[in-house]
Amino acid sequence: MNNLGVVFRFEFMNQTRKKAFRVTAVIIAAVIVFLVLAPVLFRSAFEGGDDGLDGGVVFEDQAYADLLPFEENHIYGTAEELEDAVKSGKEDIGYVILDPTHIRTIYSNYGVSDEAKSAAVVGAMKEIYIRQALAQQGVSDEAYQKIQNQEIHNETVIYGKDTTAQYASAMVFVILVYMVILVYGQVVAAAIAREKDSKTMELLITTTRADSLILGKVFAVIAVVLIALAVYLTAAAVPYLLVKDRYPEAVKEALNSSLNPSMIGIYILFFFIGLVMYLFILAALGSVVSRVEEVSSSLSPVVTMMVVSYALSFVLMTGVDNAVLDGLSWIPFFSVLMMPIRYAYGGIALSGVFVSAAVCVAFTVFLAHVSIRIYRWGTLNYGNKPSLTGVLRQVFGKSGKGAAV
């Protein structure tokens, strides 16, 4: 594999020279900087807003005007004025407060968030009604407040892990692995298909061993991923270090509880195993097709597998404990996403995670071997796309064994 370094350098330079790579990196880095600064820029949103109610309102009984915290300029004199304001789009939502137990709600359009808005008004009205009803029965407002504010002492004992803090990091892991594999897997597959399409492959395999060619490509893409991640990490770390002291307390607490060093180590381990494994699979698929345009259809079975794996990981994040999911999590195609989630949610011991990682590494080595053979076989195989079993039969059959790797 004396040309591995040459292939690696060429492929790496080809990828990093692409304008698309640079522009994408800059855009994503800018988005990350914005997200990191968001808790400072939008501090009030992270600290919780005021207790005001949204929308326009008409009070049939003015006694409630002081009890419900609507803004002054959203209070209308008549129901007709309010209806006109809603119809004209000045207000998204309007309330006609008839009495403590009757409200009429008017919507411009009805969306998912509108239910929460009206629920806040309904809740506030119910609170007013309870206080008034209790006052009529001789219970003072202070007594009611005292009852309401009574703290319930709940002593929590967790024998396993507090997985509530893991949700955010688990979600970031699953989305990151999914996106990186799909985007960069496509890059590897397309690069190989392009070499076949342009008939460059025959020149390559007569000067260089197939293992150098395919490993060089895969390693180059991994290096590109590392560069991209380093850029993104820098884009996150620099503004974070500059403004972290100005973060709202709630955000600081959330970050401290979700950034668990051992968990991050597991995520990084499975991220790279998954990336390498899928890159070899996608590289093999790229060598089966004859033209670049055929790449996306060729990749669809693997993409489907990734989507299933992605969906199952989210199911695991809900805390479901299921034997079928446990079983699937041991299959390498799925385990790269599912096993870290199972560990994060306390579904498996650390030793089990390492066994799974070892299985994945062994499987990846096997896949690399198969991928190299398919690549070598696919060099001069043009025309109709063969079936997977057809490819494997030929790769490991007489004609395939004849080819020098």
Binding site: N3, S198, K199, T200, L203, L204, T206, T207, A404
Partner: protein, 299 residues
């Protein structure tokens, strides 16, 4: 160096495309590998370049099994192709490195060949921006990177205009003069006849003849006589030859017959005004090709 191709057989599925072909190539002598499309030239080269392995037979270089990785080889495949969206110099440098040159040497080599083919202004341009002819030159240039000792060119003249073909012929001549082992396939007889010292003629996966081109021409012309006569008199002349018991054939408007001196001295004077030329027969490569492979296979 002597490259021996010994009893090479190759099948694809149930169809055998090379039926135990054998010939030899010697360094310092250009070898032309002739045959029509589909005769088995590219398959032979691909077996030699280990793109796929032959079912049986051996390739020997100076008596030892030929190992691709142990020699500097320049190869121009029939299917032309390089990276369309990569700079000309960058990819020539890359291919030079893949052939074992250091980065510095590969860069120098790339610059040399770009200059040789008069493409300096395109050195930093992507290949796809060049005309087809100039792309062809770059593909030819890659075969000569890292000063190869063995040069294998599959249909190198295909698609070249006369000017570029001349430039390319000069390169091949230079490498042959320097004692390199050069073999190229073609179905264009004129180029092979002009360039080659040795030929191997393949038809339907079988070598029909191989060896020194001059000797082959002498052998094929031995004891044969050609008569180039006006078409109006050809019928009568053929009748006389037949009457004298001389076998004859017609090739490209000329009658080829036995060199029976007495009989010819008696017949030919009768056609003094009709014969444009006549003499000892010395077949052209095209004549040999037609005779061996059959007129129906000639392109």
């Amino acid at each position: 160096m002597i490259l021996e191709i010994n009893q090479i057989r190759k099948s694809f599925g149930d169809r055998e495309v090379l039926h135990g072909i054998s010939f030899r190539v010697q360094s310092g002598r250009a070898m032309g590998f002739l045959g029509r499309n589909g005769a088995g030239k590219s398959t032979t080269f691909r077996c030699l370049m280990q793109v796929f392995r032959q079912d049986s037979g051996t390739f020997l270089l100076d008596g030892q099994p030929f190992n691709l990785r142990e020699h500097r080889i320049g190869y121009l495949p029939e299917e032309r192709g390089m990276y369309e969206k990569t700079g000309v110099k960058d990819q020539l440098t890359y291919f030079g490195q893949l052939k074992g040159a250091s980065r510095k040497k590969a860069e120098e080599d790339a610059s040399f060949w770009i200059h040789y083919f008069g493409l300096d202004e395109y050195a930093d341009k992507n290949l796809e921006t060049l005309s087809k002819g100039n792309q062809q030159k770059i593909q030819i240039a890659q075969a000569f990177l890292n000063d190869p000792d063995i040069i294998i060119l599959d249909e190198p003249f295909s698609g070249l205009d006369p000017v570029n073909a001349q430039v390319f012929k000069n390169v091949i001549r230079e490498y042959v003069t320097r004692g390199k082992l050069v073999i190229f396939s073609s179905h264009q007889m004129a180029y092979v006849e002009e360039m080659c010292d040795d030929i191997a003629l393949i038809s339907s996966g079988t070598i029909l003849l191989s060896g020194d081109l001059e000797k082959i021409r002498e052998e094929k012309g031995a004891n044969r006589y050609y008569i180039d006569c006006r078409p109006e008199a050809a019928g009568a002349l053929e009748e006389d030859l037949r009457a004298a018991g001389l076998a004859f054939s017609e090739t490209r408007g000329r009658l080829i017959t036995e060199r029976a001196e007495e009989a010819l001295k008696a017949i030919l004077p009768k056609y003094f005004d009709d014969i444009r030329s006549c003499g000892f027969y010395r077949p052209t490569l095209q004549d040999i090709f037609i005779e061996e492979a059959g007129e129906d296979q000639h392109e």
